[in-house]
């Protein structure tokens, strides 16, 4: 019987850091307003890089940390909602850059749940015995979709990429998962809308590809639907709070994480937060945090880590992994 486990992680974020203070020179906001409501202090914005550049950076770092040669990579999945192009996929661009000429490559669109969705897909290919390994990356260039005249959204997001190499194993790394989607609330968080238009229907070309968010619906979703889904997964799996060493939530808003912590009765000390540095990087959020935890030694082999992705779609993805 085959299982999947993570063997290496990596990340790649733009060098340019924009603090709340710097942002408030352009936008009518303040460090106090942003950080008290979200926990965000900084975000990284690209200068010339696009989503593929960050994903390639992540891929190269992962390859430098594991023994798998590019031509031996079976599968590349990039979770993104902000790829350089609608096509080719960012995954195909990564494939070309690293020389993974034998890999199947495609993107997944699941916003902030994207990395977990990617891990889930890879796990199924691996368990079915079809592939032996998979490079899973979350990469976002959200700054190009931010309307800097809309202070309710432009302060929340950042650019970045993170990922992991997943391989076939005799023992599970990935212990259980609970993924879900709710399209009925889908339009409460949108990005990159391209309306229908052509000379033959007389409809105008689009001018509003920006992020739009209904704060209340998303708050509701994050603080009600998400904890409920985690609870159900843990109960089904027979996992108690004491079995969880660390929680890596999607890094959107620290106030929301506090509410989730309270509802799940998992103490905040077990939650890892880094949105103060990166803001919300959508699908990159969880793997950037994961990579930090591996790099600083806070995650060690044998630890049981709970990952909670949730966001646009609306989508959610919870996963318990033995590292």
């Amino acid at each position: 019987m085959y299982f999947s486990k993570l063997i290496a992680t990596g990340a790649c974020v733009p060098k340019t850091v924009i603090s709340n203070q710097k942002l408030s020179e352009l936008v009518d906001t303040s460090d106090e307003w942003i950080s008290s409501r979200t926990g965000i202090r900084n975000r990284h914005f690209a200068q010339t890089e696009n989503a593929s550049d960050l994903a390639i950076g992540t891929a190269r770092q992962i390859l430098s940390r594991c023994q798998i040669a590019p031509e031996d990579i079976d599968l590349i999945i990039v979770a993104t909602v902000s790829g350089d192009y609608t096509t080719p996929s960012v995954a195909c661009l990564v494939q070309a850059a690293i020389g993974a000429k034998n890999a199947l490559a495609f993107d997944i669109s699941a916003a902030c749940s994207g990395f977990i969705f990617g891990l889930s897909v890879a796990d199924k290919y691996i368990r079915a015995g079809i592939y032996k390994n998979a490079l899973i990356i979350g990469s976002e260039l959200l700054s190009k979709y931010l309307n800097f005249n809309d202070r309710s959204t432009c302060v929340l997001f950042g650019d970045g990429s993170g990922g992991a190499m997943v391989v076939r194993s005799d023992e599970p790394g990935l212990l259980c998962e609970a993924l879900g989607s709710d399209g009925e609330r889908g339009l409460s968080l949108t990005c990159g809308h391209v309306p229908t238009s052509s000379p033959f229907n007389g409809l105008p070309r689009g001018t509003d590809p920006y992020v739009h968010m209904d704060g209340r619906v998303i708050f509701d979703f994050a603080t009600r639907t998400v904890p409920k889904s985690v609870e159900e997964m843990l109960e089904k799996q027979g996992v108690g709070i004491e079995d969880i060493d660390l929680v890596v939530p999607h890094q959107a808003n620290s106030r929301i994480v506090e509410i989730i912590s309270r509802k799940l009765k998992i103490p905040m000390e077990k939650f890892y937060l880094n949105m103060h540095e990166y803001a919300n990087t959508s699908s990159a959020s969880i793997p950037i945090a994961l990579n930090e935890l591996v790099e600083n030694g806070r995650i060690t082999p044998g630890m049981t880590v709970l990952f909670c992705g949730f966001g646009a779609g609306l989508t959610w993805g919870n996963m318990l992994i033995r590292m």
Binding site: G215, R216, F219, D220, T223, R224, R255, I256
Partner: protein
């Protein structure tokens, strides 16, 4: 009575003294509650009274909340 339950929920969420909260108390100014605090208060009230509060934007005072709850829980 609805006011007492609502007052206690608000006191718990904001950390303010229940005695200080009246119908005229302003959510933003007196309670120093931001939009996230208000959302959480409304969610707790929805759970407590088993109602759905759609219109949150026009809530300025505790009295506004009580009025909404009174209206919705009659249905």
């Amino acid at each position: 009575m609805n006011f007492e339950k609502i007052r206690d929920i608000i006191a718990e969420q904001t950390g303010k003294d229940a005695e200080e909260i009246t119908m005229e108390t302003s959510v933003k100014d007196d309670l120093e509650a931001d939009s996230l605090d208000l959302f959480q208060i409304i969610n707790d009230i929805e759970d407590e009274f088993d109602i759905k509060i759609e219109d949150v934007e026009n809530i300025k005072t505790v009295g506004d909340v009580v009025k909404l709850v009174d209206e919705l829980s009659q249905k």
